[in-house]
Amino acid sequence: MSGPSTFVPKSALGRWFESRLPVMGLVHSSFVAYPTPRNLNYWWTFGAILSFMLGAQIITGVVLAMHYTPHVDMAFNSVESIMRDVNWGWFLRYAHANGASMFFIAVYVHMLRGLYYGSYKAPREVLWILGVIIYLLMMATGFMGYVLPWGQMSFWGAKVITNLFSAIPFVGDTITTWLWGGYSVDNPTLNRFFSLHYLLPFMIAGVVILHVWALHVVGQNNPDGVEVKNVEKDTVPFTPYATIKDSFAVVVFLILYAWFIFFTPNFLGEADNYIMANPLVTPPHIVPEWYYLPFYAILRAVPNKLLGVCALFGAILILAFLPWLDTSRVRSGKYRPAFKVFFWLFVLCALGLGYLGAQPPDDGPVLAARILSLYYFGFFLVILPLLGLFETPKTPPASIADAVLGKGASGANH
């Protein structure tokens, strides 16, 4: 993915195959010889962690589908039978359900890393937007997956989220009926959600390939936000350096993942989802999965239905415009003293919205959510555009080698 390969297989069979389909050369140039900036820190290992999680979700998901029945009368019991009867079913299901949460933990770290180090700035805009598309697909996939066990939260989550589309003027009700395939969330809805939940991860995999391709065209950003100038001095080969570091990070991440699976598998779930879906009883307190909570808080912060739905989708879509909203010429937050403060306030704001999204819609939490929603949008629409004009950034090092080895290491006179 980074230009013509100079890779020559050692064996005669390898050379015969390579001259017909140069796939080994592609892997070699992308994941072996590929130059990675030598100053990358551990925040850069989350791409590998995410790839691992996508693989884990697809594998556990495919085997769970062998035991699951997408029918309103049988779905709930088939999930219980996976838990009790299927060999290792409890493990596969807990790995898949908690895997979704781990996937989102990793993607939020990955996104915040990109935000802090300015990884969305030119020439990485397309790379960033592909990432936003992956995130949207992940949200859709996670939502539909949560509906499949057909518990109370599954059903009412599906009802509330599909009803978001009824806010669209004039055609809203037609669209909602079309999404449902009936007059309410019912068997046709469950059936199509199962079909799409199986499809979307493979679409994610496709966009991930584009994402990695775009990454390898423009090269990785790095903590100092300066471009590679001298491949010899500024970079190290992907293998062994990045491969080993990424593998180590995946192992550490797996410890956390395994802790959830084996010690507190229902911590991130909702007890109500172990009650079978009942279209005539709404649970007293509906909450979405934790990874949607900040957006749910934004939805509830707006007292008007249509505007609330616009705010919810706007909060996600605004990410795609980030490359043009940030006007600073300095890429990395490391050299932007004021940006750092607003960045960490943004992180706190997102966490605060997440907390508020899980609270009942009383006056206090709603007011707090309104204030934090203003900061959320203000960060992108006001602070980032103005900061580039008014902030006095520090001077980034002249090169990656300078940043790592001290000034002059890049050999300006070579």
Binding site: V160, N163, A167, D186, L280, G308
Partner: protein, 160 residues
């Protein structure tokens, strides 16, 4: 000319194939058939009571309103309503209020005899409805919907 003709044929063909792929997601014949009218026996519903029945997968509220509830609904000030509608326009007989029990905000089922108007309160996002099912407070944009219904006799109601 050949290019235009080919392009036009391809566009028509793509549209003709896309429509079945899109339309297959709409309610099928069995869903529509299962959505036929249902009957309710009113004699079993006491004054002040709300009975919930299921129609088209959704709850239907049949409320036998008390005198006070009827008066509250009739005397409410239309000027302060988001979706102004007289009570008379929402009922056929004042003591029987028939509603689709789906919050017009995001589809939760509101709780009866609750909220500051003693009509319904939706616990999901805090929409408040009065004893005529009209939206009075909270994020819901419209009044609770009134389904098509007819009185078959004094004690028998057909919804749908």
């Amino acid at each position: 000319m050949l290019f235009i003709a080919t392009g036009a044929a391809a566009a028509v063909g793509a549209g003709a194939v896309a429509w079945p792929l899109i339309n297959q997601m709409n309610p099928d014949a069995s869903s529509i058939a299962a959505g036929a009218a249902v009957e309710v026996d009113l004699s079993a519903i006491k004054e002040g009571q709300i009975v919930t029945i299921k129609w088209r997968g959704n709850p239907i509220f049949v409320r036998h309103r008390t005198k006070k509830e009827i008066e509250d609904a009739q005397n409410a000030n239309l000027g302060e309503m988001r979706d102004p509608q007289t009570d008379a326009a929402r009922v056929k007989k004042p003591e029987w209020l028939v509603l689709i029990g789906v919050c017009t905000h995001l589809g939760c089922i509101p709780q009866g005899h609750d909220g500051q108007y003693d009509g319904w309160l939706c616990h999901c996002h805090g929409s408040v409805y009065d004893t005529s099912g009209r939206i009075r407070q909270g994020p819901a944009p419209r009044n609770l919907e009134v389904p098509a219904y007819t009185f078959l006799s004094d004690t028998k109601l057909s919804v749908g």
